[in-house]
């Protein structure tokens, strides 16, 4: 086959082929084309989104490693401590094989973190599926996807001993054919422990460590290799299998290795595009070259071709460059942990990645050309033709003449879409490591991190996305996301330090989809700038669509922050009763556009979110942190999806929590449903003791933030007044619906 033809078969374009030929000044061979096809794919090169990603703010006083520099960003957490964190998607692999797809997603993000020199200390997962209660085959398929993904995450995360402390689980028909599985990992390290993925020092040996290479993940394009017989094709698995046991040994061995002074020169994990990616990226970063011999690569299967070895995506492998003469120290550590460590090559000054097999050169490519010179495209963007129509909302046509708030709330409580997520996080070890101070179930998880000299720093984190908001208004929706994430942190008394994002969208060649992506990025960027929040990295997942259409535009953000000194952490549910409920922030529901309420209760997705008042948010967050320093604050919970009534309900549905009696303000001309279920941003509910109400009001006054007394806690009922609407519910009844809805939907067969 001609090189050009082969290139096209691998998914490269004519234009890209031309660029390769020009860069090499000759015709590329098949191995080289294979390498280009993966390195220049969207996944590795961000060729369709790079221009957009440049819009994010990436600098700030706390940033130690910037977005795009290394495998994960790193921020300063004070006291010499640093945090490395990142989010990664495994949407498509999880759709094919949910258990292994999700598990290897966890393994992949884990490697990104310990590659930085950090000890991984927490995971979070953001999951989106179709409706589990759907009838027939669709529902059955969705339920098995959910169970497979959750057990895959549980399998990997639990086994490596890193707690999964939070996340989200969303059901929406928009994800039926294309689930989203995004995983986040956080690691901790000292400033002086940060590792770089650069190959430096001519003559330094390059080691391959970890699991052996097999034909894993040689999917799609790579199948075009003509060397395959029909028979071997059938065996050629696109599915990568994760081995968390080896994953755990690998990170322990690496951490032990890093602890040796001046031993390691550079580290890089082998993720997508395995050996190809890790060699050309380290060489490119180091401004050097690398020469490797494939015969030295530990192999699990026999008869693998250079092409297969170069492109394999076998899991749990790393590339490590050490100083010459120190090889034995590395080998000893890996031998102790029972892992392969093979010297496969050395650093050169040529600027090229040279690959040999049995001593013969099988590929020779300038590292920069592969790693950094991928084409960058400007995609066409167009406002979706139907957007304006979709943003219209005529409540009169949807809501009943008389509000049915009692039924509405029961419906929400009984829906698997809104029910307690305990079924999920009970399957995750969220306590291992003795750091989890605030467990899953609240607004943000909080971990304690030991300082070098003793004592603790407390770090909060949250993961948030909202496809519904972003589908209806990609710009404001994305802004609202960032605001919500920061608000979640504020409820844990934390100042946000950095953000990582996962952009989940459909096909970027569709101008309407590209427009939503651009709007999303610009909205997030604006909010980040406003909150002084650097974006330290992230991931892009495109082509998320099924025959039924694209998914909702779904950016997901992970925000980490540091709990302020003096903050007393509280839960998000009412305690024993006898407290006062205060609403901090804006009054009024903010309208029902794009709300969970309309979708869950009335089956309508219409309208859009109100404009986000970033200024008001910022003040609110500051106030919240201040309030948490007072004695006598019992609980805090932000108002998000489902609106204020749902937020109050969540506060009474916690284990052992008391009921309450609240009066919810209903604005002029506002329908009760709008006041109760509207998802306007900028609101937090707190429960405090009577004695501190005055102090909270004073702080709120100083901050210029609203503070309204809604009622009191206690009793076994939730009673609510809103304008002329008055309702009550038994707390036990709500709790039962809330805790049982998800397990029933998933296991009720």
């Amino acid at each position: 086959m001609k090189a050009r033809e082969f290139a096209l078969k691998l998914g490269l374009t004519e234009e890209e082929y031309g660029k390769i030929e020009k860069g090499l000044a000759r015709e590329p061979n098949e191995n080289e084309l294979g390498m280009f096809s993966v390195m220049w794919s969207e996944h590795c090169s961000y060729k369709n989104t790079r221009r957009e990603l440049r819009k994010f703010p990436t600098t700030g006083p706390a940033v130690l490693v910037k977005a795009g520099e290394e495998n994960a960003g790193v921020v300063d957490a004070g006291d010499g401590l640093a945090l490395a964190y990142k989010i990664e998607s495994h949407n498509h692999p999880s759709a094919v094989e949910p258990f292994q797809g999700a598990a290897t997603g966890v393994g992949g993000i884990l490697r990104d973190i310990f590659t930085m020199g950090a000890r991984p200390v927490a995971f979070m997962d953001s999951l989106r599926f179709g409706r589990p209660e759907a009838k027939g085959e669709a529902g059955r398929r969705t339920r098995s996807l959910i169970k497979g993904v959750v057990s895959g995450i549980s399998h990997y995360g639990n086994c490596v001993g890193v707690p999964t402390v939070g996340g989200e689980l969303v059901f929406d028909p928009a994800y039926e054919g294309n689930p989203l599985v995004n995983v986040f990992c956080l690691g901790t390290l000292r400033h002086d422990q940060i590792r770089r993925g650069a190959a430096k020092g001519v003559g330094n040996p390059v080691f391959y460590v970890g699991a052996k290479t097999g034909r894993d993940g040689l999917a799609g394009a790579a199948f075009a290799s003509r060397d395959l017989t029909e028979e071997s094709k059938a065996d050629r698995p696109a599915v990568q299998v994760g081995d968390p046991f080896v994953g755990k040994l690998l990170f322990e061995a690496c951490l032990e290795l890093y602890a040796k002074p001046d031993l390691v020169v550079g580290v890089q994990d082998m993720g997508a595009a395995g050996l190809t990616c890790s060699t050309c990226e380290t060489a490119s970063r180091g401004g050097s070259g690398i020469e490797i011999e494939l015969d030295q690569v530990p192999q699990r299967e026999t008869g693998m071709t250079p092409y297969e070895i170069l492109l394999s995506e076998s899991q749990e492998r790393m590339l490590i460059i050490v100083h010459k003469g120190r090889e034995k120290e590395l080998k000893d550590i890996f031998a102790k942990w029972g892992l392969d460590a093979a010297e496969i090559g050395f650093v050169t000054e040529t600027g090229k990645v040279v690959v040999k097999a049995a001593g013969k050169v099988v590929a020779e490519v300038p590292a920069r050309l592969l790693a950094d010179d991928a084409p960058v495209y400007e995609r066409e963007a167009k406002v979706p033709a139907k957007l304006a129509e979709r943003q219209k909302l005529d409540l009169k046509k949807i809501l009943p003449a008389q509000p049915k708030v009692r039924e509405d709330l029961l419906k929400l409580a009984a829906s698997p879409a809104t029910g307690s997520r305990r079924w999920v996080w009970n399957q995750y070890d969220h306590m291992v490591g003795l750091r989890t101070v605030v467990r899953p179930g609240g607004d943000a998880a909080v971990l304690r991190i030991e300082k070098s000299g003793g004592g603790w720093v407390h770090v909060a984190m949250t993961l948030d996305g909202n496809g519904r908001w972003c589908a209806q208004d990609p710009r404001e929706g994305s802004k609202a996301l960032v605001a919500e994430a920061c608000r979640n942190l504020a409820c844990a008394g934390a100042v946000p330090l950095g953000l990582t994002d996962n952009l989940n969208y459909g096909n970027p060649h569709d101008p309407e989809i590209f427009w939503t992506l651009r709007e999303g990025v610009e909205g997030m960027a604006e909010a980040c700038r406003f909150f002084d929040l650097p974006v330290t990295g992230g991931n892009v997942s495109l082509y998320n669509q099924s025959p039924a259409g694209p998914i909702h535009p779904t950016p997901v953000v992970g925000v980490v922050g540091k709990v302020e000194e003096g903050v007393r952490l509280v839960g998000g549910v009412f305690g024993k009763g006898g407290g006062v409920v205060l609403l901090l922030g804006a009054e009024g529901g903010g309208g029902l556009g794009a709300s969970l309420y309309l979708q869950e209760v009335h089956g309508v997705l219409a309208g859009k979110l109100g404009k986000v008042d970033l200024e008001g948010e910022k003040k609110l967050h500051g106030l919240m942190r201040g309030v948490l320093k007072l004695a006598g604050v019992r609980a805090a919970h932000d108002v998000g999806e489902g609106g204020i009534l749902w937020a109050v309900a969540e506060m009474v549905m916690g284990e052992g929590s008391a009921g309450g009696e609240v009066t919810i303000p209903c604005g002029q001309g506002e329908r009760a449903e709008e006041a109760l279920f509207g998802e306007g941003a900028g609101r937090i509910l707190v429960e405090v003791e009577e004695g501190v109400v005055g102090e909270v009001e004073r702080l709120a006054g100083e901050a210029g933030v609203g503070c309204k007394r809604l009622g009191v806690t206690g009793g076994t009922e939730l009673k609510m007044v809103c304008g002329s609407v008055e309702e009550k519910w038994g707390v036990r009844e709500l709790q039962k619906l809330f805790t049982e809805s998800l397990p029933r939907a998933l296991e009720g067969e």
């Binding site: 094919v96 094989e97 894993d216 065996d235 599915v239 299998v241 994760g242 046991f245 299967e301 076998s314």
Partner: protein, 83 residues
């Protein structure tokens, strides 16, 4: 009464972390010569009635849809009389 035994094995080039760990352990324990270990499932089903028409086809379907994962596994069905 019929008895069906469905043996589910991983496709040859799919990684078997479990098997690898066992092989590793055996070598470590001084058992020589173990080249590879692969671990699959052995599933026994007891079915009421005799070998009715369509039973085998039904079992093939179950084996494929529920008992094995065709993306990664092969299965072998063995159907015999007796409990």
């Amino acid at each position: 009464m019929m008895k069906a035994i469905v043996t589910v094995t991983l496709k040859p080039s799919i990684l078997d972390p479990q098997g690898e760990a066992v092989a590793h352990a055996l070598n470590h324990m001084g058992v020589k010569g173990v080249k590879s270990v692969r671990i699959g499932k052995h599933i026994e089903l007891e079915i009421e009635g005799g070998e009715e028409k369509g039973l085998r086809a039904k079992l093939e379907e179950i084996s494929k849809e529920l008992l094995s994962n065709p993306v990664m596994e092969n299965f072998h069905l063995d159907l015999r009389a007796g409990g």
